[in-house]
Symmetry: C2
Subunit: 184 residues, 2 copies
Amino acid sequence: MISPLLLPPRPVSRTKQIHYIYDRLWVVKLPASTEWVLHCATTLAQLDPGASASTVQLAEYYDLPSAYLAKQLKALVRAGLLAATTGPRGGFRLARPASEITLLQIVEAVDGTSSPYECREIRQQGRGALPPEECRRTCILAAKMAEAHDAWRGSLAGVTLAGILATLPPSAPARTRLRLTGTA
Amino acid sequence: MISPLLLPPRPVSRTKQIHYIYDRLWVVKLPASTEWVLHCATTLAQLDPGASASTVQLAEYYDLPSAYLAKQLKALVRAGLLAATTGPRGGFRLARPASEITLLQIVEAVDGTSSPYECREIRQQGRGALPPEECRRTCILAAKMAEAHDAWRGSLAGVTLAGILATLPPSAPARTRLRLTGTA
């Protein structure tokens, strides 16, 4: 299924759609859903212990498409960050304490863990191709790009949901609960 | 113009092309040309002072499409990293010493400087919308994602082309010159 979020603003021809998406491809961007899951996890971290919120409640809270949001929340469940509860009052809650969930875990649960830089080994092709015996070690350029990705990961691994909550105004959690589930 | 590099491996219908690209969109990746420019800049850094190499020479050296490579090299010229020389022996050379060109400058010349995370201010929409006066400061989640991007940038800003060259075998530059321009 193609996410409606990625379509051009107005209905256009298939060919124009392709150009639209190609243009976006050159700008390396995380999908909009990265913002969704970061906010939804932060919101769920403000619920009382044991309480949960449904996909519909979260979708209305942020005015997001619920079917697509559900897909993202399930990815967080698969990653062990959220727990899904069933039944008429079912929904999602944190699967572990907010102090044990990092932004990196949330982002990688939906966007994957691989580096945005892909080494296609062009050092081994063309007139300048290096022989295989000189390519046993990772290309130095790929290694430096991997170090940068590690720096990005390390930064996000150092931020927990508990740390985010500590920056919110003291009145925020009660308001969040009231607007999200109708119970403060 | 759509880069042939982004097309599916075999000719397929327009609709299938769209699905193919959408699938790729969810995996956040830098374009293949990021690898090209990193390698081409490293290669040009191995030329003798004042020497240059043409797009065709670089394209043959790495077996890359020369028209598209030319577009990327021009972006490096616009960024002040390469200098373009004209005439029958014209081409590209570094615009400044290899010790003053960083991997970050090269990557951002072709991929832009913005963070892959886009804050769409969902905190201000839906039932949970925060009032504008509570949103004067950057969203804490966007701020943490920006810090991670800064960590990535800082890592790449710490690596110069001179530093990369220092890791190559002593025999590498002469071989590079011979294969690239036919003069060792």
